[in-house]
């Protein structure tokens, strides 16, 4: 049963991502991407990572995608009268599509040839308690560094997003 659900969710994720990257309207792209992220969250749950699945929904689909939508609507990027300026012609897609298909085919061939991955992923479940112990005991230093990184990102976003005239007065950029 879980096997069938895995393939269905994988197909949903691929189709939603495909629709997302071909939309002209960024709002539609973000909505399709949220769809794909939900499918991925369920895949994480199937693969025994319930906490990661919850955070995928909360952080990715909840916070990051809302941030995208917020910026799109703040800058009025959804195409109105200048709709066709964003869509690239099909000639521009051709080289990268060929490249991606070639590289993807090589990867699939390698995965098929190497028998190491042929064993099944076992039915396994990581409890949030074990996860917390691993995160805060073995990776305590990394957690601290990541918290610093988030602080720096907040400061950097604040600096970059400041109004233009203040920046010129300081001689920046």
């Amino acid at each position: 049963m879980a096997t069938i659900v895995f393939y269905i969710l994988g197909a949903i994720a691929i189709v939603a991502t495909l629709l997302s990257i071909t939309r002209n309207n960024p709002v539609h792209a973000v909505i399709y991407l949220v769809n794909s992220l939900f499918a991925l969250a369920l895949l994480f749950y199937l693969l025994g990572a319930p906490l990661v699945a919850a955070w995928e929904v909360i952080i990715y689909a909840g916070a990051i995608m809302v941030l995208f939508l917020f910026i799109i609507m703040m800058l009025e990027l959804a195409p109105g009268k200048k709709a066709d300026r964003f869509g690239p012609g099909w000639a521009q897609w051709l080289p990268i599509l060929l490249l991606a298909v070639a590289l993807g085919a090589c990867t699939l061939l390698l995965t098929g040839l190497d028998s190491a991955g042929a064993e099944g992923v076992p039915r396994w479940y990581a409890t949030p308690r074990d996860f917390g112990y691993t995160l805060f005991k073995e990776y305590a230093l990394a957690v601290e560094i990541v918290s610093f990184q988030l602080l720096f990102a907040a400061v950097g976003a604040f600096y970059v997003g400041k109004p233009e005239r203040k920046k010129r007065a300081r001689g920046g950029v």
């Binding site: 991502t17 990257i21 990051i64 990268i96 098929g112 992923v121 970059v160």
Partner: protein
């Protein structure tokens, strides 16, 4: 067992290349960022699959770090999108192909 590990990796590869196509072919800054998101998610899927395959928690911990890194990256790059839009009045990357100074 649910599925072979190879199938998880194949799914992750397909999603990764879809994101790569989006990054390289689109001309809209927002769409490029969306492509980066797709690629990071594909890597997260591979990490969770491997974590489940070897029954070790390290892969899932890395996914959490990946999420933190993504939030930092998205906040800064969206601030830069706002800055560039303010500067040139567009988010088309073709408008940013010159240097000054």
């Amino acid at each position: 067992m649910i599925v072979p590990l190879g199938h998880v990796l194949i799914l992750s590869t397909i999603l990764f290349f879809l994101g790569l196509v989006c990054v390289l072919a689109r001309r809209n800054l927002i769409m490029i960022l969306i492509g980066v998101e797709i690629m990071l998610n594909a890597v997260g899927l591979a990490l969770v699959g491997a974590s489940s395959f070897w029954q070790q928690l390290d892969g899932q911990v890395f996914v959490i770090f990946l999420m933190a890194m993504t939030s930092a990256e998205v906040s800064i790059s969206l601030a830069m999108v706002v800055y560039l839009q303010r500067r040139k009045g567009t988010v088309d990357v073709r408008a940013f192909d010159e240097m000054r100074g």
